[in-house]
């Protein structure tokens, strides 16, 4: 059947994109699930990562170093959101929106006031490129990305097992408890947001290379895609994957599945302009279901925190 042939044909590129967005989704997972802070900075920091990376590579910097710089630029963005939230006491969501808006201007500045900056794999030594997605060899982005993701998960597993990582998890799990254990929760919230946005920017850096351009609008709706990946991963694999490293893997798998489903519905004839509407609706439904369950079981919600 033609549909399945086409779907199979799009499998490599969907997997590659899924892995790249999966790294972004891990960033979302860190804030949304571990830190319990809804962070909207990601819509801006994704493009920041791409812009920084693409511009630096074009300026002659080593690709790896350019990606490190992208990571640090994302951390800086996260720090701004974190300070808005903890020092200025602005609600987390609003803090993220403010940074995100600031980043729109900053991203344009980074790209010398251009909305789009192309980068060709012919001229520059890019780490991943969509051009090689069907090539058998070490430059195939699927192999590179799989290794990259594996390393990242190991690194995060290590970090969240350390004393500092544990204290960040405690901060997200219960601020009262964390403070009672002598943990400076403000510092940890800032650290968590920095790490998260660093990963998002890293994902942007990979995406810019993979797609061959950095675009000021590439992060629009990223938070929703990230949430979709997190939720798909949880719904399908929560029972199976209990260890922390596996939960991160579930997020990556969630992102890959998201892109596969995306390809499938596009092949079935969905207008690609309606995609964001569909994605947001699906996420809204999945976020609603657990709350409805809670309402039915407990007729009265517990009192708000003081």
């Amino acid at each position: 059947m033609n549909f399945f042939a086409s779907l199979l044909n799009s499998l490599p590129s969907a997997s590659a994109q899924g892995m790249i967005w999966g790294i972004m989704a891990i960033g979302v997972y860190l804030t949304y699930r571990i830190l319990d802070v809804a962070d909207l900075t990601v819509d801006g920091s994704l493009a920041t990562g791409a812009a920084v990376c693409v511009m630096l590579i074009k300026g002659g910097m080593d690709t790896g170093l350019a990606m490190v710089c992208a990571f640090m630029a994302g951390m800086l963005a996260g720090a701004v959101t974190g300070l808005f939230h903890t020092r200025c006491r602005i609600p987390a969501i609003l803090s993220g929106i403010l940074t995100q808006l600031m980043l729109y201007s900053i991203n344009l500045r980074i790209m010398s006031n251009k909305a789009n900056t192309p980068i060709s794999v012919d001229k520059y030594p890019l780490l991943v490129s969509s051009r090689y997605v069907r090539v058998v060899g070490w430059n195939n982005p699927l192999i590179v990305l799989a290794l990259f993701v594996a390393l990242l998960i190991v690194a995060l597993y290590w970090f969240f097992g350390t004393e500092r990582g544990c204290s960040i998890r405690a901060t997200g799990a219960n601020r009262h408890m964390a403070q009672a254990q002598g943990i400076n929760t403000d510092v940890n919230v800032v650290l968590g947001l920095m790490l998260s946005n660093g990963l998002v920017a890293l994902s942007g850096a990979l995406l810019g290379q993979y797609s061959g351009s950095a675009d000021v609008n590439m992060g629009r709706g990223a938070i929703v895609i990230g949430l979709a990946a997190v939720i798909i991963g949880e719904v399908l694999l929560d029972k199976l994957f209990r260890a922390f490293a596996l939960k991160l893997l579930a997020v990556i798998i969630g992102a890959i599945l998201y892109y596969l489903v995306l390809q499938a519905v596009l092949l079935l004839g969905l207008n690609s302009n309606d995609l964001k509407l569909m994605t947001a609706l699906v996420v809204a439904i999945f976020l609603t279901v657990p709350n409805l369950k809670g309402h039915l079981l407990k007729p009265r919600a517990k009192g708000k925190e003081a």
């Binding site: 500092r164 204290s167 009262h176 002598g182």
Partner: protein
């Protein structure tokens, strides 16, 4: 040991809802004191405890522990020498973390969190022994998420955590009020065991007058932001609930207040 001097706290000052929760309160605790605190709703018991723990800044006065002035220290820094068990069993533990991970955090209370591994093998063995002493079977569930435990189990765990790294002061904030009577009894007995075993200086708020008399070596009663009774030693041992009510009526000068107190436990 703990020295509270002329501490006052008014909530919503300058508004129609202004409420003076602590009015020039002074209190000195000696090393090893186990003080129970009683008083009606709104008497200022919890405000006193929050002031000591650093939940908010006091309007005036000073709080010192072992001669160190901690009045301006944020709550998380006071945690280095004060540990606390809350009324709400949900508040003292991290529900999405494992039992042993919660204990490991408590063992590092107030110390710097670096990049060393968050929990060591030797610690796990130590926690196994400590949990065994609780006799709740928690030692066999060390890798379970704390969110799966009952309220009583969580309070017992929080108590263990509070004493794991010996604090200079232990604050028990009506920590059995949310439990059913049998569990409350068990947790209370456990509290006493832990306090005695580690010789902890303790401040315990309770709504139950019998408990306030039965536990500790000193009892204070609060009313309207003041400490109105402070009984210790032999006098406290002979105290009965009706004594307490009579004396309360005498110091506060109100007869009906005793009903308020009685009803509230």
């Amino acid at each position: 040991m703990l020295e509270i001097k002329n501490v006052s706290k008014t909530f919503y000052p300058g508004t129609i809802n202004a409420k003076t929760a602590l009015d020039n309160v002074s209190l000195t605790l000696n090393e090893g004191d186990f003080v129970t605190v009683i008083g009606g709703n709104g008497a200022g018991k919890s405000t006193l405890m929050n002031a000591i723990a650093g939940t908010f800044a006091v309007d005036q006065g000073s709080i010192c522990i072992d001669g160190r002035n901690i009045t301006r220290l944020p709550a998380y820094r006071r945690a280095a020498f004060i540990s606390r068990v809350f009324q709400d069993p949900m508040m003292g533990t991290a529900p999405t973390m494992q039992i042993d991970e919660n204990l490991a955090l408590a063992a590092r209370r107030g110390s710097f969190h670096g990049f060393k591994w968050g929990i060591t093998k030797a610690e796990k063995e130590q926690y196994y022994e400590e949990l065994k002493k609780l006799q709740l079977g928690l030692e066999t569930r060390m890798t379970s998420k704390v969110g799966l435990l009952s309220g009583g189990q969580r309070q017992a765990l929080t108590l263990l955590m509070a004493a794991l790294k010996k604090p200079q002061l232990l604050l028990l904030d009506e920590h059995t009020a949310a439990l059913d009577p049998r569990t409350a009894m068990k947790v209370l007995t456990l509290s006493q065991q832990i306090v005695e075993e580690h010789h902890l200086t303790t401040l315990m708020i309770t709504h139950n007058m019998k408990d306030a008399i039965a536990y500790g070596n000193r009892l204070i009663m609060m009313d309207n932001g003041h400490i109105v009774l402070d009984i210790s030693g032999a006098e406290k041992k002979q105290l009965t609930v009706s004594d307490l009510l009579k004396r309360f009526a005498m110091v506060s000068g109100e007869e009906e207040v005793s009903d308020r107190l009685l009803l509230s436990h």
